[in-house]
Subunit: 177 residues, 4 copies
């Protein structure tokens, strides 16, 4: 069955975006990339730092409200619809709800052929990379490193603690059918 | 009939993005924003400056190839699917094909209630704003100012030549039902 | 006397950056651009949202602390030194201290030939543009619109309320000797 | 003698910026960061892709012209002047001229106490990271990996091939007196 979507899940600063750009470079066909960052960019500015929208506390704890969840559900269905309409899609997400977040995708996906990829990175290393990026609230990386993988089932997992993005992308690409 | 999508069409540097952000601020419900810029960001880097993808010549002339068109069609269907799934969506696009570009959206929209908005700006003024942005290929604004409106039918038009983004957004918001 | 520096002062969202990019485009010689935004980018991330550094309150009120002031003074001297060393420099700044901020520059400038430019924009219009940018804390534009000009002496003033950036840049360029 | 400046030299995608942000985080005093990227941002847009300014060929080869060199020299003197005026400064640069580029800094520095740091990264790894960034012309990393270090003398060298930015920053910070 031809892979129509690749869904990467990993904590903040685990290296998902770098892997996505490498996947887009190494896969022979053109793949569109979407993810939690582009979804947040699409939201009204006033939904950021709001209870109904997205709130990132000073310690890096992320909470999302009812408006966020409602828009996210519609967004998820739309991304899957792009794949159904023929586009190859790679998504990077942060499953704050673990298995529940995966089920949200599964419900929208129906029988669509997806490659599920876990992107691991040791919390301490991810925290260091968070500092080196300079644009993230410190603490998110450590809080999310294990949390986002709880109960999630993958086709394969990559670990960026000691592997480069390109190397991880090549491993993933070899599983795309 | 409740407006489910707002589609803004206008040339490069006509002021669409500023209007979109103001719409997201003034409309009471949360609206998600997508557009040609976020679509291009989702493409592989290798599709930019490529014949099959997107090519922007030194004089600002834009050409798009077969891969671009195929992904754009799937993207269009996905954006409409988000609206069908309950999200309010505002899109800003550049109808390089004029009426043909509008038909691409109409085909995907089916009977969905859309507000069509033309964003006009005199070519000379748009060219000046292109310079003031500093990140666009000079010439795009002038080339696209009239071209993108050819044969396109709107519910309303705004003109940013002498009106502020916020003023245009308020005019548009008054037409959202 | 040949103009070696142009210093633009205006409130947040008054249109300084757009004018700077237009000045760089219309002036025949190459001019380097620096300003309060690039200075803040050069600061450690931990100095943002800190008492000793830079703090922007939820209502847009900006306060700067001792570390900010000390680095700013050294930065000012360095920018002037670039001009003394032969570079043409355009600076955009926000004189939160009004006349006192201008004196900080004058002290560093010694006898260097500077063109002082006030960039005005009516508070209500600047506030609208702040919304259309989407990346600024709402309220800064209104709070700073008049404040930053108190007691400051200019060679010329431009007003972006009804004039385009390029038009303002041409007016300024005509005063460069 | 108290270190007043840290100058990092390394090829494109060798990891300089990440180290700089980590240095700003781990060093107890506030350090301002400048570098070749912020210098290029300060140049007029028209100097990019120009013979007199900066030209990056499709294969990643970088050439700089007379206007670039003249402004760079003045910029260098200004950065050193900031340090003389009391600011702690960390610079990341790409010594396209190897030892000659270092001499440009030394001439401006006079006797100022500088820590010279070489940032190494194996060409193949740097090339992979160039792909994962997605915003660089492919080829720069490989072309510059060794070139920029030719004849340059360092106080210490770090290698990001197998070490994290934060680890490298801590090594450097331990040499700051």
């Amino acid at each position: 069955m031809t892979t129509r979507m690749i869904i990467l899940n990993g904590g903040s600063s685990s290296g998902k975006s770098g892997i996505v750009r490498c996947l887009q470079a190494v896969l022979p066909d053109p793949w569109l990339a979407f993810g939690v960052d582009s979804f947040v960019d699409a939201m009204p500015a006033k939904m950021q730092a709001s209870e109904a929208g997205l709130d990132i506390a000073a310690d890096g704890r992320v909470s999302v409200g009812a408006d966020f969840r409602a828009l996210e559900e519609a967004w998820t269905e739309g991304i899957v619809a792009m794949a159904r309409a023929g586009a190859r899609i790679v998504v990077d997400d942060v499953f704050l709800g673990g298995a529940v977040s995966q089920q949200r995708w599964q419900k929208a996906l129906g029988g669509l052929a997806v490659l599920w990829v876990g992107v691991r990175c040791e919390g301490e290393v991810a925290s260091g990379r968070e500092i080196s990026r300079g644009d993230r609230v410190p603490g998110m990386a450590a809080l999310q490193a294990d949390l986002v993988h709880q109960g999630v089932i993958y086709d394969l997992e990559v670990d960026t603690t000691h592997a480069e993005s390109l190397e991880c992308a090549r491993t993933i690409a070899a599983h795309v059918s």
